[in-house]
């Protein structure tokens, strides 16, 4: 929407109302993290600012467009709206974006089938002309998360929107993540320069290797190559698809001497949050005892050249595939990430250590990785209603859980991926509280795009509500799996109990799963996390300004009204009741160019009214003047006419 008055500040105050579902609250915070990672928009708890977004559980998912400057601007995340892309979509509305197909140039790209629209819903396909809506110089975006799906508001079975380029007919209406163009438009609208939690990303396609440097004091170097003896034959960014590109960094331990190290260091980075997630792909064709260690080199006044601090050793035996790794960091000062390869063994062989697609952000790392090999084959050849399970993962929260995936959908959902999360317990497990209280489990199918800001990963979260009952039963759904679950024999012969699963039969369509980089090198990667969300069961505190004494300009100190005095006064439009010299009075809300007034703040004034008043009075003065002029002209005319008559008398018998 065009107009600076609709913009929000880059850090938007928000208030999560009590009626929101706990899972929705958790997903809203994840949506905020996506905004922080990929845009310059940030969110902060409302602390009394004049305008803020109040997120509540309404009947559905809806928002206003732009900052309406009404103080409390509502945004609804109701039942079934707790998908991250739905929340991001509604916040893009609040930030000032309409739907993509309502652009002024929409008809250049899609055909609206008016006769297939439900009666009375035609207005939903209106477009805005280009002096109220701007496309910000970005081409029409079929992949926008703001685009209707092809069957929106249809009255039958035929699509209401047909793309002029057929290849995009099933692309429109994706509700997974921001598209590149969504982000570009947002950056232009809010003059973004970078994401606030993004630190660095490198696919080594450029010779400057993103400013990474060879460390000092080592005996060997990491080399930028497109192929390495002993593997890998291709990089991971493009899987060798493009000739003349597809580079990665390689340290050939096979040809190095025993004890040789090679240091590869990132450019200088400046953290803000104090915690980071380093993510990268690592191909290990080195000797079994060769090691890859992760350090950080931290700089401060005491260590102007930086001081190395060991973080962890990347374990795992050599394997001929690119493996994804996450390393959690806790750096609070200027630093570099340091990859230290070391040849521990001896002998000469073909092989070494290779790195590609490094990403660093101030976010928390996913806890677990579940790699499903040959995923396309699995999708095509697994019968419907047949599932596969991830290994049991024990979270830092002290609970063990598993993801269940129906590669060809659960019954009734062909052509879909269905995903469920199960709690797991082994005989003899102790220390857990049952039913499991407020843990949010997120199942993300990773879009393996090299750059973290360009990924459109698909994720769904479920939260263990300890009060949730099982269907048609008085038992608790998230109770101890040893009570409510079934006994399972693991591949290694061990036994454990698996609780009922909570998830969705429509996790992702096969069509979308085969798009982008969800499947790379034939494999799919699921990132699984369990987080404690019990803090979201507590009411978000109101800003202190509404609860403290307020002093007005007339030096009397006004205290918050004792209960009985204000009972007799009702303040409208969010006015606040105060005692002023022994009398209860309303203090009214004031905006930038508007204000409420009156005894109970029932009237609203605005600068626009003043202008209107001034205009009205000047027009009325003009009107009166015109009236006076008209009357004078008429009188004068009459007078002159009368005079003329008199002088035109024929003097026939005057002298008589």
């Amino acid at each position: 929407i065009i107009g600076d008055e609709y913009r929000w500040p880059k850090t938007i105050p928000y208030y999560m109302e009590d009626d929101l579902e706990i899972n929705a609250k958790g997903v809203i915070l994840k949506a905020f993290e996506q905004y922080r990672l990929k845009t310059c928009i940030d969110f902060k708890p409302w602390s009394g600012e004049a305008n803020y977004i109040s997120i509540f559980k309404g009947g559905g998912c809806f928002s206003s467009v732009g900052n309406r400057r009404v103080g409390k601007q509502s945004l609804s995340i109701g039942s079934n709206c707790d998908r991250i892309a739905t929340i991001e979509h509604e916040f893009l509305h609040a930030l000032g974006f309409w739907h993509e197909q309502s652009r002024a140039d929409r008809d250049d790209y899609v055909n609206i089938m008016w006769d297939r629209i439900s009666e009375g819903k035609e207005h939903n396909f209106n477009t805005y002309n280009d002096n109220t809506s701007s496309s910000l110089g970005v081409p029409y975006d079929y992949g926008s998360m703001m685009h209707y799906s092809k069957n929106a508001f249809r009255n039958g079975t035929e699509p209401t929107i047909v793309t002029k380029i057929p290849a995009f007919s099933d692309v429109i209406g994706q509700r997974m993540e921001f598209s590149d163009s969504d982000l570009l438009k947002l950056h232009r609208l809010y003059n973004c320069t970078q994401g606030s939690t993004f630190l660095d990303s490198c696919d080594f396609e450029r010779e400057n290797i993103c400013g990474m440097i060879q460390g000092q004091g080592d005996k060997a170097d990491w080399v930028r190559v497109a192929k390495a003896d002993g593997g890998p034959n291709t990089d991971y960014s493009n899987m060798g698809k493009c000739t003349g590109s597809g580079y990665f960094m390689h340290f050939s331990t096979g040809t190095a001497n025993t004890g040789d190290t090679a240091l590869l260091e990132s450019r200088l980075l400046y953290p803000k949050r104090g915690y980071q997630c380093l993510q990268f792909f690592y191909y290990n064709s080195a000797g079994p005892s060769d090691s890859l260690k992760i350090h950080v080199r931290e700089y401060d006044n005491a260590n102007p050249n930086g001081k190395l601090r060991f973080i962890k050793t990347i374990d795992g035996s050599p394997q001929d595939l690119w493996q994804l790794h996450h390393v959690s960091l806790d750096v609070k000062k200027k630093f570099r990430v340091v990859f230290q390869g070391t040849k521990e063994g001896s002998g000469t062989f073909a092989g070494g250590q290779s790195l590609d697609d490094i990403n660093l952000s101030e976010t928390t790392c996913p806890e677990f990785i579940w790699r499903v090999k040959n995923f396309s084959h699995v999708m095509e050849n697994t019968p419907t209603n047949t599932s596969i399970f991830s290994p049991p993962f024990t979270s830092k929260e002290g609970y063990t859980f598993q993801m269940e995936l129906y590669p060809s959908g659960k019954a009734g959902s062909p052509g879909e991926l269905s995903a469920y999360a199960h709690l797991v317990a082994r005989e003899g497990d102790t220390g857990q509280i049952w039913p499991c209280p407020w843990k949010q489990i997120t199942m993300m199918l990773m879009d393996q795009h090299p750059h973290i800001q360009k990924r459109m990963s698909n994720q769904r979260s479920v939260t263990t509500d300890p009060n949730m009952k099982a269907t048609d039963s008085d038992r608790f759904f998230w109770d101890d799996p040893r009570k409510v679950g079934v006994e399972v024999t693991h591949t290694d012969g061990s036994k454990y109990f698996r609780g009922p699963g909570s998830g969705t039969a429509v996790y992702l369509t096969h069509l979308r799963a085969k798009s982008r980089d969800f499947i790379k090198g034939g494999d799919a990667i699921f990132l699984l996390t369990m987080e404690d969300v019990s803090h979201l069961t507590v009411t978000q505190p109101l800003p202190s300004t509404t609860q403290q004494p307020v002093t007005t300009a007339v030096t009397t100190t006004v205290t918050t009204a004792p209960i009985n005095l204000c009972l007799s006064v009702q303040c409208l439009n969010n006015g606040v009741c105060m005692v002023d010299e022994g009398k209860a009075a309303c203090r009214c809300v004031v905006g930038d160019d508007w204000w409420y007034y009156g005894d109970s703040c029932q009237y609203k004034g605005s600068i626009m009214d003043k202008t209107t008043l001034a205009l009205a009075s000047s027009l009325s003065v003009l009107g009166v003047m015109l009236l006076v002029t008209a009357v004078s002209v008429i009188c004068l005319k009459k007078k002159y006419k009368k005079h003329a008559n008199n002088s035109s008398v024929v003097m026939e018998n005057i002298s008589a």
Binding site: G59, G60, V65, T86, E416, F477, G485, V506
Partner: protein, 44 residues
Amino acid sequence: PTTNVLDYDVDSGRDLDIFDINEEAGLNLVEGDIVLDERQTRNS
């Protein structure tokens, strides 16, 4: 463990978009999910 507790589908097996959810809730909003303020309503 006693009898099986069934899995729970948070979407009840239906892939509802934003507009489907709002329509089923009878919200009848502009473009399916946009709330207009008084001035916009007057204009529209």
